[in-house]
Amino acid sequence: MTNRIKILVAEDNIVQRAYLSKLIEALGFDPVPAQDGQEALDLVRSMKVQIVISDYQMPKLNGIELTQAIRALELDHYVYIVMITGSEEDSVKSLALDVGVDDFLNKTRSPVMLNARIRAAIRLINHAEELAERTRVLKESNDHIREDLRAAAAAQRQLLPDIKKDLLGFTVASAFVPSSSLVANLNNRFCGSENDEYFTMFCGVIDTQSGQLDYCQAGYPSPYNVAPTGDAQPVGTGGFPVGMLDFATYENETTAIEKGGALVVSGPVPTV
């Protein structure tokens, strides 16, 4: 019973209220009766009512005022509002739509039409819930991407050599840790995901004066150290990818790039 959709019936006439509630119950929903607009608003605040069927003329708050008050609430779900109309002029109906009424039901309260209105309401509610769920997933993904970008930015800052922090009035981010520490930090950051995702990298710092390359290889294919003579030797013997194994360890290694030589890096992912 508690999982059924709650439909609030705001109607001051006790006979009409009981009749509508019986119809709603017979259609398989959970009727929530309210004898005036204020009680209806209090009930919408206190429980998850998804559909409101409201009379136009009611004590305390009429149908228009009730709709305005519901739309002003910050609810985590959409409330579909159907207003019962009689001989009201078009201007009243126009105002009702403007303030947030979704549909109208004739005073005759035909069970067939009531059922049709409720089914239409449920379709819209389902769409709204799907949209809310998709928005939630997108927000989660967006937060995840932002977190990854922050980690990547932190990694880049760690690669910077320790230089003077104030330069022509700008504050320069600078930090330096050995490449292996950087890779280990990233491995700690990315390990533990539920899926099989990981990444590979080869990172290092070349001293342009001495030609010394301090590096750490993490699953990325070996680059080639190309001498001025054209001889090429692979650099590194391998290393654990990042984010794959929490027990992975990383070593810092060193090699020399000859003056006039080159370090050639290729391959976006380790493939054979």
């Binding site: 899926n195 099989d196 995702e197 990981y198 590979t200 699953g219 990325y220 294919p221 070996s222 013997t237 391998g238 290393g239 654990f240 990818p241 794959m244 194994l245 992975a248 992912v269 380790p270 493939t271 054979v272």
Partner: protein, 94 residues
Amino acid sequence: LTAANATAFKEALVGLIDQGNSQLVIDFSTVTFLDSSGLGALVGVLKKIGHRGDLLVCGLISDVEQMFQVCRMDRVFGIHPNVEIAVQTLKERV
């Protein structure tokens, strides 16, 4: 073993593990190509087994073995020349 079949590969092996099989030998002798997705799936299976069992691989051709070495997977998986030796190794461990 690539992104095209890595998920099916992992699901099949996880299915075997869920059925109670914890001593696995994977014969790679007909695998000519292993990419990062395939490797990820293989490590996923290893994590699924955890400390409850063993996962050995065998029959690696040169290029696939090189992939294992670049990613240091030769230190994670028991690698054997063929199925017979791998199975014999498992039997000795049990």
